[in-house]
Symmetry: C2
Subunit: 219 residues, 2 copies
DNA sequence: AAAGGTATTAAACAGTTGTTTAAAAATTCA
DNA sequence: TGAATTTTTAAACAACTGTTTAATACCTTT
């Protein structure tokens, strides 16, 4: 009976994945600390002991979740291809759209990550989140450089701060879901409707904001 | 021995304020659920029983904190005077600067609020946060309307979404403090230095973003 | 100084937490 | 089939949670 959670390379069994999926929803919904292992066990329809058995501890389960999703999202970001026949402005648009779609598709984890990142002491998780952020920043950076070289984007843009706006806006949207549902008169339990309303608006808005910020005023 | 926390009009004794101040820092630092009443008691240098004695419960202590800070921040926002001798663009600038300064001054609470708002079930707190958001939105809205009337701002701007960007960016900045410290090579424990670096950058950036987004392209 | 209310304390309370145990069931493999 | 391994279970564990208790100390006010 050797433990699979000792592996670093993170390949999970079906049972582990089921537990992780139940856990991530609960963590996102009521927070890590406010979710008990018994809650998770009940939601995943397994015995409480299975969490320790499969992951070692509740904390390690969270680690496993981070490893899984960070890997997934990194992969999605790397899929962004820089085609040569699109303008720099279109490249930026595509990056923003991919961001929003990817985050929306993994919004339960993303909410958890955003909420927990300020409190995080665990090095594995902190480094995972950091690597995601660096990836994001470098993606935006290279797209902006191309536009700057073409003379249509400003030079010397503080990309760290620009990334704050892009991700801050997206995070804020998903983090204030209930409030936004009130604003747009959407049933707060109708998540599909929320996504249908907010995603296009986010895309249009962020693309406009970033483009109007990057484009040089005259010429 | 009747309890002061039964009052709704929220006037707090010195001892209560001390407990609240210790609590808000701990809550912001490690989360509400992960902070025990014994932690708070130790930090405030009082007996554990004093928290129940003064506030009724840990949850009510959080409520008291929300009431206090929401009131404070509402007050600050209401101080924004719409002088008649400044341009609409300058008005927007002033609003953004006041936002950033107010949030920075109350950043411990603000972090707590942002982190807890997605999980909040308590009506008192949810309504408090909502009223703040509505206040914010209405402030921005009236400033934008003035500019639109003057013909220098776009019309039909989705202010709810624009507010997402303004507050999302600010929240993201304070929520990723550690990461930003790494980016700007600041000692993560040197909070004063962090504020000195991030606040001006945030102001310059957000003002530029919002203005370039609101200003009509030609003319 | 005495009385009466308030503030503070250490201890106890009952409930929940994450984790472990040791036995039982299920599965694998020869 | 039968032995060996892995998975699942209910129960027990100790540690910690927020809250209450009952006694004591501290202040006022008379």
């Amino acid at each position: 009976m050797w433990w699979k959670f000792l592996k670093v390379t993170a390949t999970f069994t079906q049972k582990q994945l089921e537990i992780m999926e139940s856990a991530v929803k609960l963590f996102a919904g009521k927070g890590f600390d406010n979710t008990s292992v018994r809650d998770i066990a009940k939601a995943a329809d397994v015995n409480v002991a299975m969490i320790s058995y499969y992951f070692g501890s509740k904390e390690k389960l969270l680690e496993a979740i981070f490893i899984k999703y960070v890997t997934t999202m990194r992969g999605k970001l790397e899929e962004i291809v820089f085609a040569h026949d699109v303008t720099p402005a279109e490249k930026i648009d595509r990056i923003i759209e991919t961001y929003i779609d990817t985050i929306a598709a993994n919004r339960h984890f993303h909410l958890l990550m955003v909420r927990e990142q300020g409190v995080m002491k665990n090095k594995v998780m902190y480094d995972g989140v950091k690597s995601l952020k660096l990836k994001n920043t470098s993606l935006i950076k290279s797209a902006i450089k191309a536009g700057a070289k073409a003379g249509i984007f400003k030079k010397n843009v503080d990309i760290t701060i620009l990334a704050l706006t892009v991700f801050g806006t997206i995070n804020q949207a998903f983090n204030t879901q209930r409030f936004l549902c009130e604003q747009y008169r959407i049933d707060p339990d109708n998540e599909a409707e929320f996504l249908k309303v907010i995603i296009p608006r986010l895309k249009v808005h962020l693309k406009a904001v970033v483009r109007s910020y990057l484009l040089v005023a005259d010429k």
